[in-house]
């Protein structure tokens, strides 16, 4: 008996061990927390839903999408009508925006056909279900197909995992646009597939949906009544013909509550969608110009502007008032005023209590989630006691001055919440007031590497003093960062003893090393890629089988393309940190760390 028991136990344990190794894809209901059910066959409440929190904060969803959340606490009949009417307005705007962008000059008939097709798709996939607020007051989002389908467009985590990790499952507009990217690829291909013409929008929609559901090779699946999935196509067509969503839409002309272009292509947060155009600006009101800047009237013919709606919080803190309304300036209005773009770094630093600056090193006092953007997808949790360099900041409210800092942790770059005006020091405290990673510290020497030298000016972007030539070494005495692209200026003393400011790239794109580089004495710790190499992506660890990370270094191979010295596709120098297992851990001029094979580099 004992012998057999042992065999069984051993075999059982072995089979379990082997089975844990079998992983080809995400499991059912991957990252689904606090799942709730729903009702089949109803609009807005199809099962299941999972908390949004791993990708978007509750506050962020409620702030951006309030009219588009189905609330279980309300009477379902009234709430369904309200929800469907709001969502219909957004769907029409999204479909129109999308098709006009992808196909400039598209006919109104095609826009109508595409929009109708999208509505049928939403019915088939999710019954127009996306955000739902249950009676526990928490917002959840739709997960179908055993949890593999994410959001109203049912983006599948087994084939679109990278996109979903960036929040394209939870965020309603990103989910719609990503889904439309897939749908449109089939829509564009349908007329040449042999089962649809370009102007028959019914057959074109049926083809596009077959491909959306079964892959691009199945674009004509709907024509084969004996196909394994013919029933799916039949169900879709039935919904397409009946258009039963219309029964719940009480006002088909209601304007969208969202500014779709801003939500898709702009910098969030965005103003509501139905802002009116005005010809004259008034005091104490907020306006948006055609560049998307947010402006307030400062004097009779001058508006002060910032580039993002979050920076308006710093502007409001400066003026100690809130700006009401949210109109757009007409072209006539724009010609009447001068627009002054304020530097956000100086503006926010001076007016937000306890805000840390770029380059400061902070130590966090609590475990804090690192998110892709303020209130966005969670990347990891940072541990209390760890220190991080501040790469950027966002102030998300005026009255309590809530703030987020952009930091780097391992291969993650994202935002951590760091309290408000009253409790910011409970969240994070300053440990070092240095300059951003990759920049010179005060007292460092840097070498000018820009091909034509760099002009020395009396202030950042001010009047010309003289030109500092290529290869000249200068001493840095201060670092100034300005503008939304984080333009960097060094205050320097030249070899001739002249003092002034030189531009040295920006922190938004990796361009610092194209202007100046640290003049290191211990040059043997530096390396470049081998002559024949064009670029190498860095790896996450010291083995050929490790993942590539999203950062790379450019090699001398690119130098041939820059013979006239005016492009930035040039090889770069990087620092070696340590060696292991035939690989080097290196640090790029932008402070990014990663592993690279010993065979790919030459030490300087």
């Amino acid at each position: 008996m004992k012998f057999f028991t042992k065999i069984i136990v051993l075999l059982f344990i072995n089979s379990l061990l082997a089975s844990t190794a079998l992983s080809a894809s995400t499991p059912n209901y991957w990252q689904c927390y606090s799942r709730k059910g729903g009702t089949w066959g109803t609009f807005g409440t199809v099962p299941s839903t999972c908390l949004v929190d791993h990708m978007q904060s509750q506050e962020s969803v409620k702030g951006q999408y309030s009219p588009l959340i189905f609330r279980d606490s309300q009477s379902s009949t009234t709430e369904r009508r309200r929800y469907m009417t709001e969502l219909n307005a957004v769907v029409e705007d999204v479909a129109t925006y999308y098709l006009k962008r992808r196909k400039p000059g598209v006919s109104q008939a095609e826009i109508d056909g595409f929009t109708y097709g999208m509505k049928a798709l939403l019915h088939q996939e999710t019954g127009w279900t996306h955000y739902r607020q249950a009676t526990d007051n928490k917002v959840r989002y739709m997960r179908g197909d055993y949890g593999h389908g994410h959001g109203i467009m049912q983006v599948d985590d087994r084939s679109h995992l990278l996109a979903l990790k960036q929040g394209k499952g939870v965020d309603l507009i990103e989910n719609m646009i990503y889904g439309l990217d897939v749908f449109y690829a089939a829509w564009a291909k349908a007329p040449s597939s042999g089962c649809s013409s370009s102007t028959n929008y019914t057959t074109r929609t049926r083809s596009a949906w077959s491909a959306y559901n079964g892959g691009s090779r199945r674009i004509c699946r709907w024509t084969n009544l004996r196909d394994r999935y013919a029933e799916h196509d039949k169900q879709f067509y039935s919904k397409y013909r009946k258009a039963s969503w219309n029964s719940y839409i009480t006002d088909s002309r209601k304007p969208s509550s969202l500014d779709i272009t801003c939500m898709v292509e702009g910098t969030r947060p965005c103003l509501p969608g139905s802002s009116s155009n005005v010809d004259t600006a008034e005091y104490n009101k907020l306006y948006q110009n055609s560049r998307g800047d947010y402006c307030v009237l400062k004097s009779s013919n001058r508006l002060d502007c910032v580039r993002s709606l979050n920076d308006v919080n710093c502007l409001q803190a400066r003026e100690k008032q809130s700006y009401s309304g949210s109109s757009k300036l007409s072209k006539a209005a724009e010609s009447k005023y001068s627009f002054i773009n304020l530097d956000r770094h100086g503006l926010c630093k001076s007016n937000i209590t306890g805000l840390y600056s770029l380059g400061n090193t902070i130590e966090i006092n609590k475990n804090i989630n690192l998110r892709r953007n303020p209130g966005g997808a969670r990347l990891t949790t940072l541990k209390a006691g760890n220190s991080y360099d501040v790469l950027d900041f966002q102030v998300t409210s005026t009255s309590d001055q809530k703030r987020y800092y952009k930091v780097k942790s391992g291969s993650h770059i994202g935002y951590l919440y760091a309290g408000d005006a009253n409790d910011y020091d409970e969240w994070a405290e300053l440990v070092h007031a240095g300059n951003p990673n990759g920049l010179a510290e005060n007292g460092d020497h840097v070498e000018v590497v820009a091909p034509y030298g760099i002009n020395l000016r009396n202030s950042p972007a001010g009047s010309l003093v003289e030109r500092i030539q290529k290869n000249e070494i200068v001493k840095v005495s201060d670092v100034v960062i300005q503008g939304d692209k984080k333009y960097v200026y060094y205050k320097i003393t030249s070899e001739d003893g002249l003092v002034g400011y030189i531009y040295t790239g920006n922190l938004s794109e990796p361009s610092i090393d194209q202007w100046t580089q640290l003049a290191e004495e211990n040059i043997s710790t530096y390396a470049v890629l081998k002559q024949s190499l064009w670029y190498r992506f860095l790896k996450s660890c010291d083995s050929g089988s490790c993942d590539y990370i999203e950062h790379y270094v450019k090699g001398p191979g690119f130098n041939s393309t820059c013979q006239n010295q005016d492009c930035s596709l040039k090889g770069e120098k990087f620092k070696i940190i340590r060696k292991s297992n035939g690989f080097y851990l290196i640090k790029t001029s932008m402070g990014i760390e990663g592993w690279i094979s010993r065979e790919d580099i030459i030490r300087l």
Binding site: T20, L22, S159
Partner: protein
């Protein structure tokens, strides 16, 4: 003795399933090394999945006409190339024993296996510094597939080979024109190798068209990378494109910033 009647068949069943699982475990262990998409799973997730996968494959073996051979251990270029031929046939004929429980299940599993084989091939080819026509053809073939992670592995294989006009065009039409923003940076860097005037003109024109009418997520990514391609010859094309973009978009702002950085460099800031 009475226990033997029960335990011996049970032990046989367990042994059989153990054997099948061991056979698969090599493939799975290797799969876990595939970059990007399939990382970050925890063990509990793996357990859940494996039960489902095992159940699916069991039912499918009954339902499907299985024509695929099992894949060989991918430890040589020859073996991998052969595996890729099998996978390509599976893609064309859709008659291999991957799950068809849901409409997308088959292609999802097939794409996972294919991406893994391509990544193994790239590692071996890079190690041996091998440049061969058949390797280019493999890159062409798999760059055409829909799934982003297959395209990415095909692109990585392409980067080990000599550049060619055909490859340039394949990258432009199968990756830059695709909607997967995650693979735009490696594709743009690969296109950076194409440095003749003619290549550059074609690439830059394609980039600006995509910025104007491509997937919004891809456009924004391309605008971020445009600085790599701006020089005295392409500057005018990018400037014209800027005029056609909406000023309140990140694509506009990224391109404007790249052009401003270029102007600063020319004028010593």
């Amino acid at each position: 003795m009475k226990y033997l009647k029960v335990f011996i068949p049970l032990a046989l069943v367990f042994s059989l399933s153990l054997g099948l699982l061991i056979k698969d475990s090599f493939k799975t262990e290797a799969r876990r090394k595939v970059a990007g998409v399939k990382k970050e799973k925890n063990s509990s997730q793996k357990k859940t999945l494996s039960k489902k996968t095992a159940a699916n494959s069991k039912s499918n073996k009954k339902e499907e006409s299985t024509s695929n051979q099992s894949l060989a251990r991918p430890n040589s270029i020859k073996a991998i190339v052969n595996n890729l031929k099998i996978l390509r046939r599976c893609h064309l004929k859709e008659n291999c024993s991957y799950s068809k429980e849901l409409p997308e299940s088959y292609m999802v599993a097939l794409a996972d296996d294919t991406a893994f084989q391509l990544s193994q091939l790239e590692t071996l080819v890079k190690k041996q510094n091998l440049k061969r026509k058949f390797l280019e053809n493999i890159a062409f073939e798999f760059m055409k597939w829909d799934m982003g992670h297959v395209k990415l592995e095909a692109l990585r294989l392409a980067s080990t080979q000599e550049k060619s006009t055909k490859m340039r065009n394949f990258i432009l039409t199968n990756i830059i024109d695709h909607y997967d923003a995650e693979i735009i940076t490696p594709a743009a860097l690969e296109l950076g190798r194409y440095d003749s005037k003619e290549d550059r003109a074609i690439i830059v024109n394609h980039f600006v068209e995509t910025m104007k009418t491509g997937s919004p997520f891809v456009s924004e990514e391309l605008a971020k990378l445009s600085g790599l391609f701006i020089n005295s010859e392409s500057k005018g094309v990018f400037e014209s494109a800027l005029k056609e973009l909406k000023a309140n978009t990140n694509t506009f702002k990224n391109l404007e910033s790249a052009l401003s950085e270029y102007a600063k460099r020319l004028n010593a800031a």
